[in-house]
Symmetry: C2
Subunit: 324 residues, 2 copies
């Protein structure tokens, strides 16, 4: 059975060192005062390509053989994983083909092309991106690096948490956005490997609660494609591998509304001076909305809570729209 270990995450950390940014850990006394906790924020919006996704993509691609790198990579994504694969492939001297819905904003296609990748579009209502990706992999001999359901991608995503724990010390809880589940699977592997007593809490948009439902049911549940401003968390079903990890390691999943996400974006601008995308702000939203109750400590000192701010790719026009 495929799984991911703390050792895998530590090996990934060694591979990305000096290539991915070691992103800053941000404190806010206002946030501490509002929550009654001691909160440390891992600013993955300041990661290369503006999100944690570069960690997993780079780790996975760096583990390919020279022959695979020579033939190239394929993936499907209209979001941050697309840019992450395009950039990581270029950094490693390979090439990438990105399968994107034909209605993806031109700016996102251009960003990917800017890293030298080829874009292939499909009709999201009639096509199936996994099938197109698999067909391209077979026809052209490309290595498929999916957005989350891959052990090397998951291990790479866990490196943000290793850095956070290294800098912040002991935490009572770690709060992580959940989309397909790759970030939280890697984060939980790292966190519980280093600090077995830590609680790992996922956050999903209310409309996209597939992981919460699946954890409650004990099996993967498919929901209708979620309508939420958190486009990075719009997966309709958890990944197979990510769910097999998360059902053992994730302690709870908190749901937040789009209004909570908007409030968190605004708080990030006003107080943290950081630009977040809605998905990237979901951990912050869980705290600020009061939906997440910080655990109490036996000694009654403020609980120590880590939050992964997972990304900031929103664009000035969209940010302005969500702030007003």
């Amino acid at each position: 059975m495929v799984t991911v270990s703390l050792r895998d995450v530590m090996d990934a950390a060694a591979r990305i060192e000096g290539i991915a940014h070691r992103t800053p850990v941000i404190r806010s006394r206002t946030l501490d005062a509002l929550t009654g906790a001691r909160v440390v924020l891992k600013a993955e919006n300041l990661q290369r390509i503006g999100a944690f996704k570069f960690r997993g993509a780079y780790n996975a691609i760096s583990l390919l053989s020279p022959a695979q790198l020579a033939r190239g990579i394929v993936t499907y994504s209209s979001g941050n994983h697309a840019q992450a694969v395009a950039l990581a492939a270029r950094e490693l001297g390979s090439s990438a083909v990105i399968v994107m819905p034909e209605d993806t904003p031109v700016s996102k296609m251009d960003a990917v092309r800017g890293y030298g990748a080829e874009v292939i579009t499909y009709d999201r209502y009639t096509g199936n991106r996994e099938e197109i990706g698999l067909a391209l992999a077979a026809e052209r001999g490309l290595a498929l690096i999916p957005p989350y359901d891959h052990p090397h991608v998951i291990a790479g995503q866990g490196t943000a948490t290793l850095e956070l724990l290294d800098e912040a010390g002991e935490l009572d809880a770690l709060v992580v956005p959940v989309g397909g589940g790759g970030l939280i699977a890697g984060s939980a592997t790292a966190a519980k490997g280093v600090q077995p007593g830590i609680r790992v809490i996922g956050v999903e948009p209310e409309a996209g609660d597939d992981t919460k439902r699946s954890l409650e049911a004990g099996e993967r549940i498919r929901i209708p494609v979620p309508r939420t401003i958190a486009d990075g968390q719009a997966a309709p079903i958890p990944g197979e591998l990510t769910f097999s990890i998360n059902k053992h390691l994730v302690d709870d999943v908190i749901l937040v509304t789009d209004d909570h996400l908007r409030d968190a974006l605004k708080f990030a601008v006003d107080r943290l001076k950081l630009v977040l995308e809605p998905s990237g702000a979901s951990g912050l939203a869980a705290l600020l909305s009061g939906r997440l109750t910080p655990p109490t400590r036996p000694d009654a000192t403020p609980p120590r809570i880590g939050v992964i701010l997972s990304g900031g790719n929103i664009g000035a026009a969209r940010l302005a729209q969500l702030l007003t």
Copy 2:
């Protein structure tokens, strides 16, 4: 004659350690590609109270005697120095009176009151803030900590540059926003003390070019109160002490327009994922607009340029307005 030395800045760094944030140094490969330089950005928007001003205020107040701290502090400012003094006074167990124009936005008065300071308002068309501050100091026995024209304030502001040079190594040029001149006076003292060959370049809004004119004239020139979105750089005349330092240490001053500042704010959101206020983005604007030509290096490698991103107190509504 009063002056400020590298030793003063180093002593200030020791005083603020563990109290002010050691703010992150941010890199952007997009910015490097656009400018042909290797740019390191010191993110003082992530400093406490959202701007570098906390450094100088804390250093100055920490140097007061126990008797002075017991009597309290007074200053005049409608901007970041007001919050900086209010917070630093509270941290040091003192109290603060802040003189603000009566048309200061309520949110700014509330921020200052939130740190426990008393606000005294005046009519900016008929009153003189320096006189009011001096009168309060005399009547109540308060210590006056002005926004920039004070050696301990200047020394504190220089600590951001010490941190930047410590982390980034040798730089060819340092680019610093200029308002009253306290930040650049401290920065230049630190930079030329540590790396005598470094060029120190100021940036002013075109409408607020009092320091550029003054450096050209060799004496302090007063201009009409500037109309610019960069409210932190709207000083009509350089400070006496700051000018006496800057005329020896500042190599050049670049002017940027409000449109350049808007473009830089947008770049910061889109690419850096950082929220800046217009003054805080002026160094970035100088680079992005092409007004600042990076120096060439004898070995033809990319010049290394440090930029102080001095603050991020803009507020979500105003940011949204400037982005659209």
